[in-house]
């Protein structure tokens, strides 16, 4: 069965919460209906290749979804300037998202643009009555993003900043450690707890290590340079362990972007 993957989406809303980020709400009933947390979309700009962005949230009733954009180069600059009414070609939803089934507590650990797809995880938790704990790391309070939204959506939040001007001083790993310590101190049942990490490689590696130490499951969302976004060009690979222990190249775009932390070779 052949199904559509390329949608022309209208920009419904453009928000600029701070200097560094723009949030676009885009119309596509199909993508909104199908998208799962951790999946991404691949967006056309004035550049040659598409640009991948994690899906930040969906509004299935309105048939819209949102992405958060940090301006890094020409492509993101172009996209950050789109205005309501503009149309943009988007492939989506793409990739393997987080496997959230069977968990009753989900801790999201995000840094930088990694917080965007994790907000979708928290949105999902709220809908599904899963206990969501959001840990976010930022450079500084000024560069922080979605703090209000996380606070409203998750059951508990912990915001860290490198600059030391938020609740926790330091990186997201420190905040995550505190959350884990707290769970252990309060004798919480962590057998059905999952840590979802997305952000800088080092942060995800730390999250994976802390999770392992505490015996908590952990899934990480990897980022790699992409061309097609749909699995046909093999450029976006990361190294993963097969069941038999051998190393293979998996494609971030279709085999991921979310992988079980156990299989990732950092």
């Amino acid at each position: 069965m052949v199904h559509q993957i390329d949608y022309s989406c209208q920009v419904i809303r453009r928000q600029q919460p701070n200097r560094s980020y723009v949030i676009l709400t885009l119309e596509s009933p199909e993508i909104a209906a199908m998208a799962m947390p951790g999946q991404f979309v691949d967006v056309s700009s004035d550049q040659f290749l598409r640009r991948p962005f994690g899906i930040m949230s969906v509004d299935r009733e309105q048939g819209t979804f949102a992405i958060g954009i940090r301006v890094m180069g020409q492509g993101t600059l172009y996209l950050s300037r789109l205005q309501p009414g503009d149309k943009v070609s988007i492939l989506g939803p793409l990739g393997h998202g987080f496997c959230l089934e069977g968990y009753d507590r989900i801790i999201t650990v995000g840094g930088g643009t990694g917080v965007f797809p994790l907000f979708f995880v928290q949105q999902f938790c709220r809908e599904q009555n899963i206990e969501g704990i959001a840990v976010c790391g930022y450079r500084s309070a000024e560069e922080s993003i979605l703090t209000e939204e996380f606070t409203q959506t998750a059951c508990a939040v912990s915001f860290a900043s490198d600059a030391g001007d938020m609740t926790v001083a330091g990186h997201a790993g420190i905040a995550l450690q505190a959350v884990i310590d707290d769970l252990i101190e309060t004798n919480s049942d962590i057998s059905r707890t999952l840590i979802c990490a997305c952000g800088p490689k080092l942060m995800m590696k730390t999250a994976a290590r802390l999770a392992k130490q505490a015996g908590i499951s952990c899934q990480v969302s990897l980022e790699e340079r992409m061309a097609c976004g749909v699995g046909i060009c093999l450029v976006c690979v990361c190294k993963t362990k097969k069941d038999d222990g051998t190393v293979e190249h998996s494609r971030c775009c279709v085999d991921g972007p979310v992988f079980d932390a156990e299989v990732v070779i950092w």
Binding site: M1, V2, H3, Q4, I5, D6, S44, Q47, F48, L49, R50, S89, L91, E224, R225, M226, A227, C228, V230, G231, I232, C233, L234, V235, C236, V237, C238, K239, V247, E248, H249, V254
Partner: protein
């Protein structure tokens, strides 16, 4: 109604648009998005004797109207392909071409032998991959080596044999003539142009392999020129590729001398590109009044 079929030697294609090697995965993904029976053909990902895990990432660098790739022939090996991928590919209803790349001279013959008993429609000898050390591209930039590889494969294979040429040479027609003389049934060109993109802040090449192969619209004028040069130099069919994004681009390549075209990078920008290109090419051909698309080939009118 325009007749969209084209004949490449003994092989008849539904239409002249073939998905280029390495840009269509192993079709498991792409078959979800389009009806592959509509294609002229599919050239498989480059196959090697042994499975290859390819180069480390990053394997792609964007550049103006194009991209570099340095996949490095990641593939599960030809035997796995024959057992697990080919049977499924053959159900699509378009021609299936096995693109093979040898590291050693002998490997081409070995792989051709393995393909002999399959229903694959043609073999494309990749003498032009710029992303693996030794072999391959080195073979393709030396007319003597081309002659040897092609005739050795011809000896063990009865399949239509296409020879894929690299543009990184002084005279591509010299290479095409060598392939023709050694018994090639067609030549396909161009593979990618060797390029390098550096991140100036870290002073590191964007790609782990340092260099990579340039493809996409940026190379189209070079590809069209080479296709025309080769078309004038050989009498076997020429399969043209390099930067084709639209039906008009496909028409340009055919006017320059291509009997069929391959579409690579366009698939990565738009997964259904091939289908769109076929539709556009068909309606363009109809507008010219031609009865069949094959009439376009080589109709360039030089000044």
């Amino acid at each position: 109604m325009v007749d969209m079929t084209v004949q490449i030697g003994s092989l008849k294609l539904n239409n002249p648009v073939i998905a280029a090697s390495g840009t269509f995965g192993f079709e498991r993904e792409i078959e979800q998005y389009m009806d592959l029976s509509k294609l002229g053909g599919i050239s498989s990902k480059g196959l090697t004797i042994k499975p290859r895990s390819g180069n480390d990432a990053p394997r792609v660098a964007e550049c103006p109207q194009g991209m570099l790739n340095s996949v490095g022939l990641q593939n599960p090996g030809i035997e796995y392909f024959i057992e697990n991928e080919l049977p499924h590919m053959l159900t699509y209803g378009c021609a299936v071409i096995a693109n093979i790349a040898g590291h050693e001279f002998e490997e081409y013959g070995e792989m051709a032998k393995l393909l002999e008993d399959t229903a694959v429609d043609a073999i494309e000898l990749n003498l032009s991959c710029p992303n693996v050390s030794g072999g391959c591209m080195a073979f393709g930039s030396d007319a003597y080596m081309i002659r040897s590889v092609v005739s050795s494969v011809k000896k063990v294979s009865s399949k239509p044999l296409w020879v894929k040429l690299t543009p990184n040479v002084t005279s591509i027609s010299e290479m095409a003539i060598a392939a023709e003389e050694a018994g090639a049934d067609a030549v396909s060109l161009i593979n990618t142009l060797l390029g390098l993109v550096i991140d100036i802040d870290s002073r590191r090449p964007i790609m782990k392999n340092n260099t990579g192969g340039l493809s996409g619209p940026a190379v189209r004028p070079v590809a069209v020129r080479m296709v025309n040069e080769v078309y004038n130099a050989v009498s076997i069919p020429v399969i043209g590729m390099g930067g084709i994004m639209t039906g008009r681009d496909a028409a340009e390549m055919m006017i320059a001398g291509a009997s069929a075209v391959q579409v690579g990078t366009a698939n990565l920008v738009k997964p259904t590109a091939c289908i769109d290109i076929i539709r556009e090419l068909e309606s363009w051909t109809a507008n010219t009044g031609a009865a069949g698309v094959s009439e376009i080939t080589g109709t360039i009118v030089k000044w």
